[in-house]
Amino acid sequence: MKKIFSYILAFVCAAAAVSCVEEEIRQESQMNLSETEIVLGPEGGEHKIVYELIGVAENAAVNISNDASWLEVSTARARLIEVSAEKNDTGAERKAEFTVACPGVEDVVVSVSQKAWQDPVTLTILGTEATKVMFSVKTVDDDFTWVGQVVGKEWFDEMESDEAIFQEDLSYYSYQAADQGVSLQDYLKTVLNKGSFEYLEYKGLDPSSEYVVYVYGITPEGERTTDIYSAPAVTQPPYEGPITFDIKVTEENNVMDITVTPDHDGVYYYWNLMDRATYEQYAAEHGDDPVAVFQAYVDWYIQDLIDYEYLTSRAEYFEWYSDINQVNSQFECMALTDYIVFACKWDGDCRFTGEAAYVWHTSGDVAPSDNVITVTVGDDVDQSSFFVDVQTTNNDPYVMIAEPSRFMAGMDDEEIYAHLMEDYGTWGILNFVYEGSLSGRMTGLDPDTEYTMVVFGYKAGRQTTPMQKFTVRTAPAGPAEDCRFEFILNEAGSNSLNITVSPTDAAHYYYWYVYPMETTADEVKDDVRRLIDEGYYGDMYEFSYYELSQGKSTGKISFLAPETEYKVAAVVMDEETGEFLADVIFSGPFSTLEADYADITVTASYDKFYDGDDLYDINPDAGAQYRGYAMVPVTITIDGEYESYYYTMIDYVTGLENPEVYPDAMLYETLVYYGVYYAETVNFRAPWNKTVLLAAMAIDKDGRYSRVFRQKCQFKKYNASDIEDLFTRSSAMTGGVDIPYALPESEIKVEKDRRTGDSRCSTDNLMKIRKENRIRRF
């Protein structure tokens, strides 16, 4: 029995031993891989295989046998076999195997394949013509979204990288998005292309020019998904043979719609039109050859522009008026008129070089107008004007013009119409065309003259209503010295007078203004002469246009002292020579109202000033305007609600700081005309060692002026502050820094907007520069 148990025990132990040995053998022989067949992407990349070794020695390691030169296999990282390859640009799929070995286990073979790389988008230039490039875009994925551009080669070559081009594009897209008021992403959605296009073309290019077409993948969110694929394209030279044109003319409501289509784009050509009368005028001189007629017409036109200095050369005209592609244009034509529209190839000297194409077009008639025009001529006819009131029943255009009756003597209506059209022409008559009801004075007439005012409906060179005629005789003119004036005070303010001046003889031109009561006639004349010489630089035409009156005149004179008596002076003058034709006539006294100053306290101050020479030494550009002067940063402080403010420096004269000697009213005009009104701090340029008056004022919303702040100042060079004090943060002031440079005139335009709204800056200029070197998206 003991023996039996010994057997049993031995058997059990043996069984147990056999069982354990078999398990150990099975574990030692095991190497498992997560994958034995892997596929790498065509674009290249890495793939990781996880392996496990069961039952092997602790220090056992896997070894790789790999003969494929394009395949990298690494076991540097624990439990991982990392397989990698570059982009497969061999054009064909490639395969390889590598062996994973480890002592004590069976080798495992791993197979790897990688398909050939195929560009996600393929751009192919199909061809070019003189002004366009044709190309195709093929995408591997139908859902692939992309954008493309056609740009000048020069611009493209300047870009350093794909990313630089992309960022430029993004800036352009952002600008477009902002311009359209949509988000960048929303804008991109509208410009993205999707999938393949077998044929695309971009028009409007210049002949014989180098371009680059490029495309790249982009998501609607604005993320670039591919490299930039580009291809150069050179447009063809202009077609050198003869070209023909298809000219189409349609008309609606006396507006011609003209389309000129050359059979070859890129060829420089000229087109225009003229009426039959003009054509025949030139044909009579230059023969029946239309090209010769067109050439003569263009030559005349160019010479006319050169004579008037609108042009300097024929080449300029060529540059401005050449076309190379189809054009479409509109022209407002005269009714029932023959027009010839022509086009012809030409050269850089504006010489036609081929056969001209042309079509004749007869414009349509204009229907009679049912506008009822009711005209009333007033009785108050003076030497140079009369009142007229016009009521119309619709807005159809009409002509109203007055001429001395002798010009129309013996003419019937048709002859008057013909006379006017001859005198003024279809262009000149437009100066006398009105629409709708109106009333006012017909001015600028000669005295003692009978005028005939004609009124008739008019459109496109056609009379559309019956003509109405009115006769008015202007009053005779008396001698200038007999002209008297009536002065009426319409309204007085504390600083202003609103005056109406009525001459007894409206034939004469006269000057009028408000003067202090003590002003003499000679002083008035001196003032007028000074105004002509200094205000208008002796230009009598300008002076007469802006300063002289004829007939009744009303105006408001401001900047007057409160509670002060003034008188109005008027004097008849020769509008051409400036000669005084009569004595100065004064009104009685008109008094301004008592002072009603704005409840505003204004202070202008500075705490330091600087030597402009020091600025110049640091920065010649910024400091140039201050050389030899003190630069004084002045700040205005305003206590109270104001609408506007003004401050400046004035040459000092004795007593100027004293309102008793120089009332505020004497400074208001100077301040308003010459003062700084746009910035609460500016840098003044002040002379050294000379006394000046720093003056400031403000105006409230009711137009009331504040008292004038006055402070005598003098700037001594030795008291100038260190120029470095200009800068608030000295730590930022290293090296060649720029200097604040604000002078009043340098900021006027910008700051003036402050009172009118919310001005913004745009990047238009930059974008314009950018766009000059490139073409729009397609």
């Binding site: 392996y51 496990e52 952002s174 960048l184 940063p633 910035a679 800068f727 990047t763």
Partner: protein
């Protein structure tokens, strides 16, 4: 005898079971759960002081979406180390980035980078742990540029706004100098350019935008105040504590966020610089030439056009989460003039993120939660 053989067989089976005990345990203890393997850590940033540690978790997300913690069965490797971590924790006394991955069976996890800082800014202690009533600030982004002649008008408006006690504590301000591609503008930055494109400001300057929305106004102060009034909140959804310091060539920003309302949150840190001198077109006062709060760098940007911040995850009320940003300093920037604007964004019902709150932390300083 038959009985003897029965006993024998039983013993043999027993012996066999005893002999294969180890192998059988393996089969039972390593459950093979197919799915996506994810390696996560308690934090992706830590101090390199030898004391701070992160703890890893390896999980499997099965096809049903159920998540199984398999950390104890997985091997976690530090990159290029041949042996796995002995335990799922990591600490170090050397700063740097540490890459980890995990293997579970024959499956590989994501790679996880743990950044160890030897100089991590200390966050101030939370003075009111139980409090979740935070003051709220709006972010105003001033789109501007030194060659923009009208931009001083926005500077004037913002100056007046900052001097208005009723509004000065309701917002933080960033000057994004992007006009004309930064032409003659020392305050320009690539970050500002990207912000301008994201906000679509290429056409009009100056412009003021609010938080991350496209709501924009010009310089009219009443309009600006109206927008602030529309966006202001009595209480913020999150509080932010932050600390920033220079470390080598970087600015390290340590941020902690405490939620007052459960939501998904993200966080970002923008480096701003004060005192940049650049001659301002349209300037009328010398201070117009000195530019403050100029955006230099936007850490936490998701993409070129998305600035919603890095994920903090879903936080329940009172729950905190942290993030450390390392902002590379450009040699031209003056660290002593810099500050960091930290903002936290939260998701709306459409998963769109906008700023829930923001704080400003000068470099070299720390700010704690701004409790009401």
């Amino acid at each position: 005898m038959r009985q003897i053989f029965k006993v024998l067989a039983s013993l043999a089976v027993l012996a066999a079971m005893c002999g294969c005990d180890r192998g059988q345990e393996q089969v039972e203890d390593v459950p093979v759960i197919p799915g996506r393997i994810t390696l996560t850590a308690t934090s992706e940033q830590m101090r390199s002081d030898g004391l701070d540690m992160v703890e890893f978790t390896v999980s499997v997300t099965d096809s049903e979406g159920a998540v199984h913690d398999v950390t104890e069965y997985a091997e976690i490797y530090l990159d290029l180390q041949k042996t796995p971590l002995q335990s799922p924790v990591f600490s170090t006394d050397k700063d740097g980035d540490y890459l980890f991955y995990a293997v579970y069976g024959l499956s590989l996890s994501n790679e996880l980078v743990i950044t160890a800082f030897n100089d991590m800014p200390e966050l101030p202690a939370d003075p009111q742990e139980d409090n979740v009533s935070f003051s709220h600030r709006i972010l105003l982004i001033q789109h501007t540029g030194a060659t923009c002649v009208n931009c001083p008008r926005m500077m004037e408006s913002l100056k007046k706004l900052s001097e208005d006690e009723d509004y000065s504590s309701l917002y933080h301000h960033v000057a994004s100098h992007s006009y004309n591609g930064g032409e003659a503008d020392d305050a320009y930055s690539e970050a500002a350019r990207n912000v301008s494109m994201a906000y679509n400001t290429s056409g009009l300057y100056p412009m003021l935008t609010y938080n991350l929305t496209t709501v924009a106004t010009g310089t009219d102060l009443s309009e600006i105040k109206a927008q602030i009034d529309a966006l202001r909140k009595d209480r913020a959804d999150v509080g932010i504590a932050a600390s920033a310091k220079v470390s080598g060539n970087d600015v390290l920003v340590n941020v902690e966020v405490k939620a007052a309302r459960e939501n998904d949150y993200r966080v970002a840190a923008w480096l701003l610089e004060d005192g940049i001198y650049s001659l301002q077109a349209g300037m009328s006062e010398s201070w117009h030439n000195t530019h403050d709060n100029a955006l230099r760098y936007a850490a936490g940007a998701v993409s070129q056009f998305s600035f919603v911040g890095e994920k903090l995850g879903r936080l329940s009320e009172s729950e905190k989460a942290g993030k450390v940003f390392s902002i590379p300093m450009d040699g031209a920037w003056k660290a002593e003039n810099c500050e960091v604007l930290v903002f936290v964004t939260s998701a709306d019902e459409n998963e769109n993120y906008d700023i829930a709150n923001c704080v400003l932390c000068p470099v070299g300083e720390a700010v704690t939660y701004d409790y009401l």
